[in-house]
């Protein structure tokens, strides 16, 4: 077996919002989109170990370790107070507070929690960028007698290629996909990428019965789900009935740059979109429980 490592930004041992039941969620560092509205911008880029953040850390939680000519940032979670100074000084808007995990490391962790969870979800960043690792992890879970009952899910922006999906499908139970906008231009404006891959992924997963949820982020006046409501509703209606349509409301927390000037989505605006969709026959809508 290869000994792959994944760069993990955070692990959450008990989540109720990342798929059915209770789930252990592994957030991977790194993303191929550059969404203006990203509420977690320091998970987009991988740290290049330049060391600029090291002297700014007030608790000396960061050190630059050089072995055989290559430098690596070392983060010690013990003294770290989560002040996030390092995030604000990084020229790449990255985070040094990530950790490398092997498949074995994660299996130990999952094994410890197995009585309490229904499954695991890999999220991000954009999880599918570390596809080879995910496949290896899911494979290991499915072939482990004590863990094989756990469902393996992926939370993704949908940019994975058809080829990639085919490699993953045998080990994947289902996925959640973000659809950031309806029109190509809008999608490109928000994410910096086009979205034909997203629609391909949605179709493929739906065909295989592995689409758990499609998520629409409503940014009033920016995302175009309301102005394109007929087309959006028609599209969503042809997805299998079991697919949850989760509506998310845009908020400012963590957001930097021009998206800070965009209006946030209020509960009223959210409800308006939801009722426009359900009037047109879209079922299985899930609305946010809080707006913040």
């Amino acid at each position: 077996m290869q000994n792959k490592l994944a760069t993990v930004s955070q692990i959450q041992p008990f989540s109720c919002v990342d798929g059915p039941g209770s789930r252990l969620v592994i957030f991977l560092q790194g993303c191929n989109y550059n969404c203006k509205n990203c509420h977690n911008p320091h998970t987009i880029d991988l740290c290049d170990h330049c060391g600029d953040c090291v002297p700014t850390c007030p608790t000396q939680a960061l050190t630059l370790v050089t072995t055989e000519g290559t430098s690596r940032i070392d983060w010690d979670s013990e003294p770290c107070t989560q002040c996030d100074t390092c995030l604000s000084v990084c020229p790449k808007q990255s985070s040094p507070k990530t950790r490398q995990y092997s498949v074995e490391d994660l299996l130990v962790l999952i094994h410890n929690q197995r009585h309490f969870i229904n499954g695991i979800t890999i999220s991000g960043g954009e999880a599918s960028l570390q596809l080879a690792f995910i496949i290896e992890l899911f494979k290991a879970i499915k072939s482990n007698k004590e863990l094989s009952h756990l469902t393996c899910m992926l939370d993704t922006n949908g940019s994975l290629s058809i080829n990639g999906w085919h490699k993953l499908l045998p080990y994947l139970d289902s996925a959640m996909i973000d659809l950031k906008a309806w029109q190509e231009e809008t999608h490109r404006y928000i994410t910096g990428r086009d979205h034909h891959r997203v629609f391909q992924s949605l179709r493929l997963l739906a065909e295989h019965g592995k689409l758990y949820e499609v998520r629409l982020l409503h940014i009033p006046g920016i995302s175009d789900f309301d102005s394109e409501i007929e087309a959006v509703a028609t599209y969503l209606k042809q997805l299998p009935n079991s697919v949850r349509v989760k509506l998310n409301a845009f908020q400012h927390h963590g957001v930097t740059g021009e998206a800070r000037q965009w209006g946030t989505c209020s509960e009223e605006q959210m409800k308006l979109l939801a009722s426009a969709l359900s009037q047109r026959g879209v079922g299985n809508l899930v609305l946010p429980s809080i707006y913040l």
Binding site: Q10, Q12, F14, C16, V17, S22, F116, H253, E267
Partner: protein, 517 residues
């Protein structure tokens, strides 16, 4: 305050009902008697807040908790209450309504209403499900309105039956404070689907409490047991004659170090606790004439099935003190790694204390006990407790994630025969995902949790697609940043936290045991 002034204050209190006033007047009268005779050492420990009699009164004339055998009562009727044996469902509900008013407890109303499915199932022949639902719903409303006290407790399960399912349905519909509800779970008997319904109810109304049936049943004989009040497990047809509790925080403060704690202070204060237990139980059993009541004469309770509860609290503080940890402050909350609930060594020390207590309890005879022994109890706290955490709980606000929480405490559960009042706080995202609650509950029980109690709260810490944030941060952020939605957020937050502030309509006497202005 002079005795009579106190009475005047109670009588003229605008916030108490006449019935509550009568209760407090009775407590005041009892408190005006000299205290039972106890040694100077016990009195000193009592005055110093190291041992506590839970304000049960100076001259106990009723047991703390009484668990009558209601099955027997319905079968044989009652001479004293002039009731003949029950023939049908309506008569059963009627007879129960009557006897509940004659079952005393520390709160002056019953804390145990029985294992209702065992009690009522024999009378359901020939009645359709809808009629059972209507009758039980009226019964449920009656209980809440006439015996309003969240310590009044109904048990259901572990078998799957119509009474159990109907009660779960009604309880989620009505969302009343009373009665409290325990669902017994036995992996060999209870279908997962039924536990799933119970878990969904927890998400709706923080009830029922889930009891690990096999563990409880093994702790008692074939006559059975019941869960009463705030999660106390006691012998059926018996109960608790008294509850005296030991403040482990204070005991730890008296100790020079960990070894001194185990070798000297803990045994010493346990000894004093036993002295207080003995004198209180002796008065109840020998002087008060309680055991001449019709409940005993008609065989609904047996004197030999009453035991004192040996309660403890302040485990978290005791461990932190013994380990030399500084007091937890706002700052240390983020990274409380050396503290109880978060740190292996701290948790292990806690388990060692529970084990030591268990050894003491099992080897110390009492005059009036269950098989001659008291029952160890992790006590849930009363309103007068300041700066000390209930039972063996992890201090509120510093709990780790639910799984780490369960893993830190599971080891304690084996020792607390008469119940361990722990409460898991689960953030509100679980509301739309009851399956997660179900899984958490099953995980906890399989790890040896005696009981599983969860509060669905709106924690300050909330997850937003991929990261955690604090509601309070967001509120501050919104105020400085964009003005829109501020009101919406405030209203939402108020609505979300509202359920935490929800107070029982009637002050529960077990939580506020004395009259304090």
């Amino acid at each position: 305050m002079a005795f009579q002034d106190n009475l005047v204050q109670i009588i003229s209190d605008p916030n108490l009902s006449p019935k509550q006033k009568s209760n407090y007047l009775a407590l005041a009268a009892e408190a005006s008697l000299p205290y039972l005779s106890i040694s100077i050492a016990v009195n000193q420990a009592k005055e110093a807040g190291i041992i506590c009699d839970m304000f049960e009164g100076h001259a106990p004339f009723k047991p703390r908790y009484v668990l009558p055998d209601y099955v027997k009562f319905l079968q044989q009727g009652s001479q004293y209450l002039e009731l003949s044996p029950v023939q049908d469902f309506d008569e059963a509900l009627n007879a129960l309504t009557i006897i509940y008013h004659h079952v005393p407890s520390v709160t002056s109303i019953p804390v145990y209403l029985g294992q209702l499915d065992d009690i009522l199932l024999p009378y359901t022949d020939g009645i359709d499900a809808e009629s059972i639902y209507r009758k039980l719903k009226l019964f449920w409303i009656m209980l809440d309105r006439t015996l309003s006290d969240a310590f009044m407790h109904v048990n259901i399960g572990p078998s799957d039956n119509i009474i159990c399912r109907t009660i779960l349905r009604i309880d989620a519909e009505l969302k009343q404070i009373a009665p409290n509800l325990t669902f017994m779970y036995d992996p060999d008997i209870t279908p997962d689907e039924l536990l799933q319904i119970a878990a969904s109810n927890i998400c709706e109304c923080s009830k029922p409490h889930i009891a690990n049936y096999p563990i409880h049943a093994n702790a008692y004989d074939g006559q059975g047991f019941g869960i009463v009040s705030c999660y106390n497990s006691l012998p059926l047809a018996g109960g608790a004659n008294t509850l005296v509790r030991l403040n482990l925080k204070q005991v730890a403060l008296k100790a020079l170090n960990i070894e001194d704690f185990f070798a000297n202070t803990l045994p010493h204060y346990c000894q004093l606790t036993y002295e207080l237990i003995e004198s209180r139980a002796r008065f109840l059993h020998e002087e008060s004439n309680f055991f001449n009541s019709f409940l005993v004469k008609e065989g609904l309770i047996e004197e030999s099935r009453f035991a004192p509860m040996f309660g403890i609290y302040g485990m978290a503080e005791a461990v932190n003190i013994l380990q030399g940890n500084p007091e937890i402050t706002e700052d240390s909350l983020d990274k409380p790694s050396q503290y109880y609930g978060h740190n292996q060594a701290a948790n292990k020390l806690g388990h060692r204390i529970s084990k030591a207590l268990d050894t003491i309890i099992k080897s110390t005879p009492v005059t009036y006990g269950y098989h001659g022994r008291a029952l160890l109890h992790s006590q849930g706290g009363i309103s007068l407790d300041k700066d000390v955490t209930p039972g063996v709980r992890i201090p509120y606000g510093s709990e780790p994630n639910p799984i780490a929480h369960i893993q830190a405490l599971a080891e304690h559960h084996q020792y607390y025969t008469s119940g361990i009042s722990d409460i898991l706080t689960i953030d509100e995202t679980v509301k739309s995902n009851p399956q997660a609650m179900f899984q958490l509950c099953k995980g906890a029980l399989s790890l040896g949790f005696r009981e599983f109690t969860a509060n669905v709260a709106s924690n300050d810490l909330v997850r937003v697609t991929g990261y955690m944030i604090k509601l309070s941060d967001i509120a501050a952020f919104k105020q400085q940043g964009s003005r829109t939605n501020t009101t919406g957020l405030g209203a939402e937050a108020a609505a979300n936290t509202g359920m935490l502030n929800r107070k029982p309509r009637v002050v529960a006497q077990e939580l506020s045991p004395n009259y304090a202005k």
